[in-house]
């Protein structure tokens, strides 16, 4: 018994403080200090190591000239706060001068603004009572502080009433956690400090409820070309490991977790640990999010995003309602299956219409029409590719009932790319194109049935796997997933699925009538009105919130935590 316990303790991941310390130490002691940046300086200062070197190095870097806009602001803010009692007068002078002589661009996304205004808030707090001449924007400390404070309050209010704008991002989750971490520790105003701690609960709860072993699953406002197929490979996994000890962190722990732990004395409360790690097999979670600001072509600046995520032990199925909900990096639906070690594994399946066009770029950005695609392509190489596996489409509508997804496409004639792409992973096994028209496969311990609604062919994908290519404007796919524990063999799963009543019509618009494995009757028609009026901000066994409420109730077993942003109170039961 004792050896067993000992072995368990050895295998167990380190606890949160140890993981946080591991990250800081990693960054504080790089292989070489010659090219060390703000991260190393801040990490060393946090550990109270070598403040003379930190001061010297800070001066050197600043002398070279700040770059990076708001991505410069947040590291130097961390340096300022971790170095409050350690930096030399000369280093302080260099830092102070940089905030006068370098104008960061405020950016065009909420994550940019959150970094910008959090940094402005904290630096104006650090250097109060200074005139406009002391700041790059010509505003006094008091003006900068007030403007930043107002926007931060606006963002919290908007998020807790309407949902997050850049929701459930596999990468940018870090950029939302980090400012809240800073404010929770470094803001002097107890209201802001408390609000930030509550927002950490809020954002982390959102993530905890929709991940599988640290992998952020389902629909995302933004992900990237790699993580859309290798679901583990990104910042969200770093935070899954840091916050809950789940899964694997990326090499070097990523950058954002460092800044998060530099500031935060916050640790996820027990109820979040339980939501992340202890849940029954078969959890249906729904939530409402918000589109990014739409400047053109829409009556309402922020539209609603209706998300469904169904989590089982072996897999997760998640979706939004389809459409152009976010620019460029939207990921609307997928199946993600659990694997023991996800590193290098493409543990997902999905389809999309590869949309590229001004309707998207001019709605969400200020781009001029002729250079828009070119500008996006410079940083998002796949955007204008017919082969891409990332992005939303105005010609996609998605329907989900637990572990069944029906994706329908009605692509306008003349669309730049008149086809749909389906991602079939290199890590699927037992892939069988059945005479019934279904494609059956196994991903980890999940059986997956995929029914294409139009003829297709296969194309290879660089990096492995195959792309289902279907060049038909009226199109779609039905996906039914089940656990390997429910069906003893592929044949048993196949027999069950092929018995399910199914009617498909593609003209005049795609329409499907399907009885799912769970007995639900799904009748989905592209373009038919859909009623989301009863959709709540959060609705699942672990998270409950009404739209417009500014509240979130966390539940697990007999535990309750109510975050009430109206009264700025946290109530535990």
């Amino acid at each position: 018994m004792i050896p067993l316990l000992f072995a368990f303790l050895l295998a167990a991941p380190p606890d949160y403080p140890a993981r946080a310390r591991e990250i800081i130490q990693h960054h504080a002691r790089p292989a070489s200090l010659e090219t060390a940046g703000y991260g190393t300086i801040a990490a060393k200062l946090r550990l109270k190591e070598d403040p003379e070197w930190c001061s010297r190095r800070l001066i050197e870097i600043l002398k070279a000239g700040p770059t990076g806009d708001m991505f410069w602001m947040f590291p130097v803010t961390a340096v300022a706060y971790t170095g409050r009692d350690q930096l030399s007068p000369e280093a302080w002078q260099a830092l102070r001068e940089a905030w006068r002589t370098y104008m960061p661009f405020r950016g065009d996304t909420e994550n940019h603004w959150l970094l910008y205004y959090t940094s402005m808030y904290l630096m104006a707090q650090m250097w109060p009572d200074q005139p406009g001449e002391a700041w790059f924007n010509g505003k006094s400390s008091a003006e900068n502080f007030k403007e930043s404070e107002e926007w931060i309050h606006w963002w919290v209010d908007m998020t807790t009433r309407r949902g997050q704008g850049e929701y459930d991002c596999t990468h940018y989750i870090g950029v939302f956690l980090l400012p809240m971490s800073y404010l929770a520790e470094w803001a002097e105003d107890p209201i802001i400090r408390k609000k930030a701690r509550m927002m950490l609960d809020y954002i982390i709860a959102d993530y905890a409820a929709e991940q599988i072993e640290g992998i952020y699953a389902g629909s995302h406002a933004r992900t990237d070309d790699r993580q859309v197929v290798e679901k583990w490979a990104g910042v969200s996994s770093d935070f899954g490991w840091l916050l809950f000890g789940l899964g694997y962190h990326t090499p070097g722990y990523g950058g954002y977790p460092l800044y998060y732990v530099l500031a935060s004395s916050y640790q996820p409360p027990e109820i979040l640990q339980r939501i992340a790690k202890d849940r029954p097999d078969g959890v249906l979670h729904k939530e409402t999010k918000r589109t990014r600001h739409r400047w053109r072509f829409h009556e309402e600046r922020n539209g609603d995003v209706y998300k469904t995520t169904y989590l089982r032990h072996d897999y997760v199925v998640g979706s939004d309602q389809g459409g152009l909900l976010q620019p460029v990096q939207q990921h609307s639906w997928d199946v993600t299956w659990r694997v023991a070690d996800p590193r290098g594994v493409h543990n997902t399946l999905f389809t999309l219409h590869p949309y590229s066009g001004l309707l998207e770029l001019q709605a969400y950005f200020t781009f001029a029409p002729d250079s828009a695609t070119e500008v996006v392509y410079r940083s998002k190489k796949s955007y204008d590719s017919p082969d891409k596996l990332l992005g939303g489409s105005p010609y996609e509508q998605i329907f989900q009932d637990r572990d069944t997804v029906i994706a329908l496409y009605d692509i306008a004639p003349g669309a730049r790319f008149p086809h749909i792409n389906g991602f079939f992973s290199k890590d699927l096994t037992m892939v069988t194109e059945d005479p019934s028209g279904w494609i059956f496969a196994r991903g980890g311990d999940a059986w997956i049935a995929y029914r294409p609604l139009a003829p297709y062919s296969w194309k290879p994908i660089e990096g492995g796997g195959r792309r289902l290519f279907s060049p038909h404007l009226k199109n779609g796919a039905i996906v039914q997933v089940a656990s390997a524990r429910e069906f003893r063999s592929l044949d048993a799963f196949r027999a069950a699925v092929t018995r399910l009543p199914l009617e498909v019509r593609l003209e005049p618009t795609p329409s499907v009538r399907f009885r799912t494995l769970r007995g639900a009757e799904m009748h989905c028609t592209y373009g038919a009105p859909r009623d989301f009026s009863s959709w709540k901000l959060f609705d699942g066994p672990f998270l409950k919130a009404e739209r417009g409420s500014r509240m979130l109730e966390l539940r697990h077993g007999t535990m309750r935590r109510v975050l009430d942003f109206n009264t700025l109170t946290v109530r535990d039961e």
Binding site: F71, W72, F105, G132, W151, R301, D370, V375
Partner: protein, 328 residues
């Protein structure tokens, strides 16, 4: 060497008030938010001072105008907000807050001291106190995104704006607007003739050029020039009534000598026909500047018939403005 040429060219020599060229530049060929940015922002080309970056490097200065009472005060439509730049543009103060972003254009009402308008992603704002305070001023505009704005130089409180859904006119200082043309069309630039104040032009996205001869109250298609193209800029030659230049994508520089009745593509010496901005030099008759997309600034001494490189290699220049010398 090129800069020397630019300097010599840029200083107007009208014998009266000298004007200097101000370019709203972004050198962003490989830039995304957060990356190192080459010289960008408001850059002045001045005979005696040389080429000068005014104020900060900034990736999004889209337009500028100057205070008619004190030309050393500039107003800049910028990504971070409306910048009031004093000391000839060198000392900046952002006068707006978090309620507006990514400004598109700015215009000073020459007949209403202290009154300035700017367009942004969600409408139009106005100040009547030189930028100390701003108020939304876009009642009546549907589809709030507005790209371009120009105050009528003939009467205070008259302003024309080009928005995502047409061209709009206010005659009460922005208190109310009405659409006067181009419904369903994105308008990218409006400009008023310096010779005939009742005459306006509007360049559009994919719908060619529109003309108004009644001060912006009504609009009609100005022939079939540049239809199915995007027009980005319009310049009236202040020294030559009837001469107008257009900048557009794929159009090259289009020049009319008969007040827009006929157009000629003038591009000998230009590396491509994708043009962001054009402006005539008020002090040098026939001199025309144009920016070619990510190529350079070009200058012509013969109203666009022949061109030569005038520097700013690789840059996009969204607007070219001549401001009075007193702006120093």
């Amino acid at each position: 060497m090129r800069w020397m040429l630019v300097l010599l060219l840029a200083a107007g020599a009208s014998g009266q008030t000298r004007h200097n060229l101000h370019a709203c530049v972004v050198n962003a060929k490989s830039w995304v938010t957060g990356a190192k940015l080459a010289a960008s922002g408001l850059i002045r080309l001045d005979e005696t001072q040389g080429v000068e970056q005014l104020g900060f490097v900034h990736p999004m200065i889209l337009a500028a105008d100057y205070d008619r009472r004190d030309p050393s005060v500039l107003y800049l439509a910028a990504g971070n907000g409306l910048i009031r730049a004093t000391d000839g543009g060198r000392t900046w103060r952002i006068t707006t807050g978090w309620d507006v972003t990514e400004l598109r254009d700015v215009t000073v009402d020459p007949n209403a001291p202290g009154t300035v308008y700017f367009t942004h992603t969600a409408g139009i704002h106005r100040t009547t106190d030189g930028g100390a305070t701003w108020q939304p001023a876009d009642q009546g505009i549907d589809g709030k995104y507005c790209e371009t704005i120009q105050a009528d130089r003939a009467r205070a409180g008259r302003v024309v704006a080009g928005c995502v859904n047409g061209v709009f006119l206010t005659e009460d200082g922005g208190a109310s607007w009405r659409r006067t043309g181009a419904e369903g069309i994105q308008v990218r630039r409006v400009a008023q003739s310096p010779h005939r104040p009742q005459e306006w032009l509007a360049g559009t996205q994919m719908a060619g050029l529109l003309r108004s001869t009644d001060g912006g109250r009504t609009w009609e298609a100005a022939g079939d020039v540049a239809v199915e193209r995007n027009l980005y800029d319009i310049a009236f030659d202040p020294a030559q009534p009837g001469r107008i230049a257009l900048a557009g994508w794929g159009t090259g520089v289009l020049v009319s000598e008969d007040n827009g009745k006929t157009w000629e593509r003038r591009g000998q010496g230009l590396p491509r026909w994708d043009i962001w901005s054009v402006t005539f030099d008020p002090g040098r008759p026939g001199r025309l500047y144009a920016n070619v997309h990510e190529e350079a600034l070009y200058v012509s001494e013969d109203a666009g018939r022949t061109w030569r490189n005038a520097g700013f290699d690789g840059a996009v220049i969204y607007r070219l403005h001549f401001f009075p010398e007193a702006a120093r």
